[in-house]
């Protein structure tokens, strides 16, 4: 079955990080992505632009409401995701704990609702 790993982290801290730290993080994500590809678990994944680029839309009684900014204002923001194929939660969690983002923020693991 498939699990979505939502990667939350502190955008401000990441933006303020030194070039060396940023390079190290990127290298860690490259290696992590390759490890998941080699293991055949990676279905897809992307990094997101910061929440300053986010726009929120909702319709209330047919009226469209568009707001700039993310849906929730939290200390840590959604910064990217991976979609993986894993036989059970333990395997999914073993990949989540290896994600570089787990050391700096938090990974939410959600099973995909398969139809």
């Amino acid at each position: 079955m498939q699990y979505l790993m939502l990667i939350y982290g502190n955008e401000a801290a990441m933006a303020a990080a030194s070039e060396a730290a940023t390079n190290e993080r990127q290298a860690a994500y490259m290696a992590y992505g390759k490890a998941m590809t080699d293991a055949g678990v990676l279905v897809g994944g992307q990094r997101l632009r910061p929440t300053s680029a986010a726009t929120t839309v909702r319709t209330t009684n047919g009226k469209i409401q568009v707001l700039d900014g993310p849906y929730t204002d939290t200390k840590e923001q959604l910064g990217g995701y991976f979609l993986i194929e894993a036989p059970d939660l333990d395997v999914a969690l073993s990949w989540a704990q290896r994600c570089p983002g787990a050391a700096q923020g938090v990974i939410e693991v959600r099973p995909i609702w398969s139809m």
Binding site: D88, L89, D90, V91, L93, P111, S114
Partner: protein
Amino acid sequence: MTDLGDVTDPAGIADVVARASYGKLLAFIAARTGDLAEAEDALSDAFAAALSDWPTHGVPDNPQAWLLTVARRKRVDRARRARTVAQSSPHLRLLAEERGTRTASKIPDDRLAMMFVCAHPAIDPTVRAPLMLQTVLGLDAATIASAFLSAPATMGQRLVRAKARIKLAAIPFRLPERADLPERLAAVLDAIYAAFSAGWTDPAGTDLVRRDLALEAIWLCRLIVSLLPDEPEALGLLALMLYAEARRTARRTAAGDYVPLDEQAVATWDAAMIDQAEAALLRASTLGTVGRYQLEAALQSAHVNRRQTGRSDWPAILRFYDALAAVTDSPVVALNRAVVLAETAGAAAGLAELDALADDARLATYQPYWAARAGLLARSDRIAEAREAYRRAIGLEADPAVRRFLAKRLNALE
């Protein structure tokens, strides 16, 4: 096979089989479908069928296999009604394995895997013990709710939610990897101890449900020990619970008055149970690693030393508390250590330790802290302060028998 003993009537046999194999049958089905709630439904249908069928047609040669077959048929009926394709593949797997069990007449024991599912890190820690009691022992939500002092409807909902979570997130029914085993086993043992504690807090033994719960917890731990015989902490927990259970009735006089540990008559302790506890602890000590449960059991062992020598081994007890304090940051351990220190180094030394703990907010509303303080103040001839501390302890105690006991101590101080 189930040991049927002297039971001959079909309803009685159904009962014995249910008692002995409910958890095993449930684990067998759920481990292959990942769906505890559905497995429970199917199994309860099967037991109902047994109660109506066996008195007429006699008890089958292999009651467990019979129940599994009927449970499968019930699952097929339900699946047909639901018409979900997703269910068909685990069903076929179950069917294949079940055929195997009928010929071999031996059902694989997946209860341990089921216990690891119940105490999985993805399951809310407070629902782990209730979930284990329901799935392994087949206790109903109302019984569990009463033992954990929660509303039956609330407990029912929490159990339903946990089972849905296991199914939807696909928490696997298998033993953890070797590297994860100590931590995962600790969660299982904690849940068992939580069940035991819920049963233990009924000192008068008037609440049958809760009294039985302590015995059920011991049974679960014995099961763990039989399936993982070389885990020292499982043996340590078993020993700890047996020591405590051996002193269950000694905690009250016939009139229902509270008897503190140091005033309990040794003859009121269950000697056979203490012997079992000593044997389990001894075996644990040969297996290399020391943990919290072994240390707590060792403490109990030093207390029951009184059986032979007439007095508790206070220096040994102090050493165990030192070791325990090093592995937990529990204020209760620090409190008990201070009380023991008063026995080996005098009331003033104990009081100094208690003073050092006075800022811990967790102890400010903890009755034993104030009772211990009162006792040591009285021994130091600080009577007015002792009386004040006893009053505070009484105000924090919920059990009337303990309140009476504390009031007697208070009144003795003039």
